[in-house]
Amino acid sequence: MRPPVILLLLGFLLPASQTFAFKANDFKTCAQSGFCRRGRALSARALAAGSSWRFPYSIDPSSILLAPDQASFTASVKSALYPEVNFGLDVRLHDDGVVRVRMDETGGLRKRYDEAANWALVAPPSISRDIVWKVGKGTVHAVYGEKKNIEVVVEFDPLRVTLLRDGVEQVVLNDRGLLHMEHFRTKDDTKPVTIQDGEGEAQTTLQLNNRAWFEGEEQDAWWEETWSSWTDSKPKGPESLSLDVTFPNHRHVYGIPQHATNLSLPTTTGPDAGYTDPYRLYNSDVFEYLVSSPVSLYGSVPLMHAHNAKSTVAIFNAVGSDTWIDVGRTESGTETHWISESGILDVFLLPGPTPTDVFAQYTRLTGTAPLPAHWALGYHQCRWNYVSSDDVRSVQRRLDDENMPVDAFWLDIEYSEGHKYFIWDKKNFPDPVEMIKDVEALERRMVIIVDPHLKRDSSYPVYKAASDLESLVKPKSGSGEYEGWCWPGSSSWVDFFNPKSWDMWVSFFKTKSVDGRWSWTESTENVGIWNDMNEPSVFNGPEISMPRDNVHYGGWEHRDVHNINGMLFTNQTYNALMHRSDPPKRPFVLTRSFYAGSQRFGAMWTGDNVGTWEHMAIGIKMVLANGLGGFGFGGSDVGGFFGNPDPEMLVRWYAVGAFSPFFRAHAHIDSKRREPYLLDEPYKSMLRDVLRLRYAMLPVWYTAFREMSATGIPILRPQYVVFPEDSEGFAIDDQFYVGSSGLLVKPVTTRGATSASVYLSDPQIYYDYFTFHTYPAPAKKVARGRTVTVPAALHQIPLLIRGGSIVPTRERPRRSSALMRNDPFTLRVALSSDGSAAGEIYLDDGEGYGYTNGEFVWRQFGAETKKGGWGKGEELKIWSKDWARQGGSNDVVVYNPANAFANSVSGVRMERVIVVGVGSRPTVVSVNGGSTVEWEWQGGIGYGATTESKAGVLVIRDPAVGIASDWQIAVVF
């Protein structure tokens, strides 16, 4: 029941003390969610029963059927609770060693939702051709791996699946006997068994429930379920899925984004639990979310990594419904419990054994992020809202006046008339195409928002088309159009599960109308698209989303597909942009909601954060966690969406943004304007420096994006990913490495800081990126890491370059990234403790798909110190060689060093080589064994240094060697 209106009115008149706060009442706790309550109660009963706990599920040995490839088998599963119900098990071994375990109810009253993996997976996985299941007496098992040290064992009774490496248990399914698939039943079936006892009038009714030991006494929320003012009709009754996953030997688990919490997930069960509720995956539009909480946020990736010093494994649970995950710690490992509202069991065991292997295994399943448009790595200027086309022009002009680089200007919802997306509000945007072209004249781009809710207005062609095609989400009746409340008021939602909507969506984005159909002629082929509110956010719906009994294409309920819904929206937008021009340009789509596989369709951001130091700090952890979940192209709103950050906070936040894969400043409509040119000095110049640093480092970022697109390794790499054996680093989540560049960043997220502590895992020399101050390698005997203190006044960013790295930059400030395309490069060669270094650069046209035909430049840089090469002293050689041909990656299929792109940059040179860690003055520097070039040596200590001091730096002046050609520079001492 809703409180009477009059009470609300009174409440409205009272001072609003909670104006800025997370509204916990808008979202369910586990205790308010029927199936989660049942799941947790089940686990509590198991815990109480201890060793006497019985496991109801078992495999019928006689049913085992090995597929002809012998890498897959199926079997019947029985539940002791319901002997009459049939379940089918399907276990497959992929050729990369991933194990897929599927279980579904067979011959039931209805069909469980089994399409989650279809949306998540990039392609059907290839089944192994050489791994063979062996059927034994009580088990089916397989041994594989190069060293034949991986073993998968499927036990019959009870049903249990174990993955072992070198005889050590890595991950176990149903180790605790919490596996439970609630089968479909009718309401009549579920009347308690009644036994009448006694005689005559003294009859007593005894209710006997012989499954209560497992399922509990009550039929808790099996059917209709009411929460707050909403009632979920639950026409299918109970259908939840409970599964326990144990990592017996891994005490750190990561992943299951998106949550505002530590990277190494705190526990949710046990006496020292970090949180009382389980982690939840149920895509939600959470207003001003808490900075440490297990509540669900905008996106869900049901992937969990487990890590120890010897191995990393992961499980991917392909489920699209509301899912709660308890995490508990055992003496030597971690136990988790996954409780989902609906869907089949479809779990992938990723055997690792390194973090890198897990990234590869996961992205082989769900796909890697495509190489983004180069401009998308620049600085994005956004606000809710730039109010007119002249406002946009003015923001552009003022950034240019201040020589602050920027690549994209964004328009939030107010560009549209009555929040009818695509339809310009001509009062304020009378000349949209001219405005977009004014931005594009500086080779910048505009990104414009298009949300999934459509204003129910038959004069709105987008709504009309979707309505005519009957491709809108339906209410629980299964017919008509679901009507909810969002920005435009009364709205309906496109059902992107309906294939009919796909072609429609493509046609909308055409800049020229095709076959007289409505299309967005008032746009250009370069416009990027921002997909927001795709959880979906419904203002008057339960948990600010759709009712779970809404109906999607194929008759599936919203509850079955909720977490997948947001991904399909960006999938189709991405597809539409891909089809917008011929030849296609790389689409840019930003999404708020996401699911496993969303990385294939663009970038994400961490939603509506708040301008506080805590939110700045948690944003970093969230971006790191999303990277582990395959979605590395992310960032959080610089400055915080809500509130008015002071200049100090803003300067620090820009530094955070400059080291995020996606770098966008955004602000709420109620906040003061805070574009970087509005700040007073010295802050304004600090922001300009940060922006320029980002642009100088674009070659590093782009190269890291290439690597992520090929390998799935995230761009921002937390400590444990780079040093998986250093247990001291497992919980570190406030510093990270940028790709393979050797750059280590620790953004400052506290007020008044003047220094920062940076943890270094490896016995390697590090240099301050800006001052070349040395952090020498410890004596070799010391195996443990070390903490160093790095200056971090407001104008400084704790940024170290690891000895042994070569970092390419472009240091000429330009207005946009595209205008740097002919600029020369600077190389920073940071010599390692043994005097060597390596690095790489990847370049292409940044916009089209020529790179898939080998049109790119991919170089490896190297440096090596030799003793006595020239008869006396040392010789240092620095070189560039083609890397596409020489083993950079197996992914390069077509490549010709003289390709069109390489030719276009053949005039682009290396203008400066800075060698860091040169301890003595050279005598001569020559290029390609011939001409000598000018150089300057700034005295300091060399790479073998054992003290903190300033490193000696050799600046080689304009060696005039090409970025796309082979060369060698010799430094003779």
């Binding site: 109010v387 406002d391 009062k427 330009r814 005039a960």
Partner: protein, 545 residues
């Protein structure tokens, strides 16, 4: 604006043959020469800030050597450099070095010298012509505008004279009125002393005492009633604003509930239906139902309507109780002894007797008319009249003094740099109201007074603020100072700040508003033109020199 370039592939090393003075402004060309006469590699050059000596060959070689960026005037090598383009046929211009060789032809460099030779066309002839045309048009506009401005200045001088004259008049008037007050004070004092004693006795009547209590009670109730009515009105306005301005901001269903609750209470149709109907102009469907209910209430128990209550209540409260007391006596008791009032003349100065008698006749006939006269007057009402006359005179005096004060202030503002400008050019525009129809709203700015946002489809208008200051970021008296006006302390936004407005003005031949925007919530920006900003053209030229 910018023309696109196809990439020109440059041989390595790039730009090796660039002229050493490429990109150097004429004033510095002399400094771009080698320091010594030695030829070839031996020649040196010193950075313009004197910080470093470099090889002459290193000037304009596309590598930054000087910390001040002066060794690369013609390339983009130095991040802090500037580039000069000659723009022969037009006016020379500088751009940051970061815009040199970036593939775009800068509009500032119509000669195309900012990019590789041949990459950008030389458009200086056309650009120069266009520029001169524009400058001429601008000059003409200024000239016309400045004539109008001169008329404003003349107005200010006239106004000054008028005010000065008014000051003299007002001061005289004050002197007269002061005397009048003095005289009436005297009369009142005397009248009161005569009647006071008798009156005090009569006031002891329980009926009179009760009347006083009733009066106080009624007054208190009226006070409370007004307070509540006012409060309800404000709440109604807040809720109306919420209802019409409601955006499901914060996704807050509580707000929606509040809107719906208000609509039910106030008998309004649901705003969403009204909005839906907007296109079909059916917003008229919005007919409040509440008045009918009010009528029904009126008829109950013969009670007064709200309107009548207000009217009658004021009348009741304004009744002079002393008069009433005396009239009461006339009705219930026998005629009292000979009234002092009728003998008042005995105490009046001779010169005042005739007007007094006339006044008394009037008063008595008025009383007769109302049927409450008793053929004779009495002391207390006479005292009342005297008091009233005094109070009226005092009030008039105060008004005149205020008028004088205002006239003084106006006079000092006219030629005040922080007021109507040093030349008084803004005085003419004081209180001038300008309007701009933006579709949904009409924006009205009454200069130096108040700005308002008025909905075109009905509903209450909101103050965007009252004039508070000129451009605070500029020195008073400078032209820049008068280009911006701040209006602040407007109506408060729901869940936001008080509305405010920045009015940005430029020279134009008319006083007109051009654009309206809201760059931040509830902070408006309106642009417009006014002749008051059109400085005489000659003066402008002097400034430029």
């Amino acid at each position: 604006m910018y023309s696109w370039l196809f990439l020109a592939i440059l041989p390595l090393p790039a730009l090796s043959v660039l002229d050493k003075t490429h990109g150097v402004p004429p004033s510095l060309v002399a400094k771009y020469a080698p320091a010594n006469s030695a030829s070839g590699a031996g020649q040196t050059w010193t950075c313009l800030d004197g910080s470093k000596q470099i090889s002459w060959n290193a000037v304009n070689d596309d590598y930054c050597d000087c910390p001040d960026g002066t060794d690369e005037p013609g390339t983009s090598a130095c991040p802090n450099g500037v580039f000069f383009c000659k723009n022969a046929g037009h006016i020379g211009s500088t751009i940051p070095s970061s815009r040199v060789n970036d593939g775009l032809c800068e509009p500032e460099c119509c000669d195309g010298s900012d990019e590789a030779p041949g990459a950008c066309p030389d458009t200086c002839k056309a650009v120069g012509e266009e520029y001169r045309k524009k400058a001429e048009a601008e000059r003409k506009l200024r000239k016309t505008g400045s004539k109008i401005r001169a008329s404003y200045i003349a107005f200010a001088h006239k106004e000054k004279k008028r005010l000065e004259g008014a000051l003299v008049d007002l001061e005289q008037e004050i002197a007269t009125r002061e005397k009048e007050v003095e005289r009436l004070t005297d009369i009142a004092k005397r009248t009161e002393s005569l009647s006071a004693k008798e009156l005090e006795r009569k006031k002891q009547s329980p009926l009179y005492q009760s009347l006083l209590t009733h009066h106080t009670a009624l007054k208190s109730l009226q006070h409370d009633y007004k307070k509540h009515t006012e409060r309800e009105k404000v709440l109604g306005e807040i809720l109306d604003a919420l209802r019409t301005g409601y955006n499901p901001n914060y996704q807050d269903m509580a707000v929606l509930e509040a809107v719906r609750g208000w609509e039910t209470l106030a008998g309004l149709p649901h705003i969403n239906n009204v909005r839906k109907g907007e296109d079909e102009d059916s917003a008229a469907a919005e007919t409040p139902q509440s008045p009918q209910e009010d009528k029904k209430e009126d008829e109950e128990d013969g009670l007064w309507s709200a309107e009548r209550t207000e009217r009658e209540l004021n009348k009741l409260l304004n009744v002079d109780h002393v008069t009433l007391l005396l009239e009461h006596e006339k009705v219930v008791g026998e005629p009292s002894s000979h009234s002092i009032l009728l003998d008042v003349t005995a105490y009046l100065p001779d010169s005042f007797i005739p007007p007094y008698l006339a006044f008394r006749e009037n008063l008595l006939s008025w009383l007769e008319l109302l049927g409450i006269k008793a053929g004779s007057s009495d002391t207390s009402s006479e005292a009342n009249r005297a008091r009233q006359a005094l109070s009226d005179a005092e009030h008039s005096l105060k008004l005149t003094r205020d008028e004088l004060q205002t006239a003084h202030e106006d006079l000092s503002d006219i030629f005040n740099a922080e007021g109507f400008g040093a030349e008084g050019e803004w005085k003419k525009l004081d209180g001038l109201c300008l309007e701009k129809d933006m579709g949904e709203y009409t924006y009205e700015v009454c200069l130096f007074d108040e700005a308002r946002q008025k909905p075109n489809k009905g509903g209450s208008s909101f103050s965007l603020g009252k004039f508070t200051s000129w451009n605070k970021l500029a020195e008073p008296g400078t032209p820049e100072y008068y280009t911006r006006q701040r209006y602040t302390q407007g109506a408060k936004c729901w869940n936001g700040p008080q509305r405010s407005l920045e009015l940005i003005l430029t020279c134009g031949t008319e006083n007109v508003l051009l654009t309206v925007s809201e760059p931040e919530k509830c902070e408006y920006q309106i642009t417009g033109t006014t002749p008051a900003l059109c400085l005489p053209v000659e003066e402008e030229r002097r400034d430029e020199l």
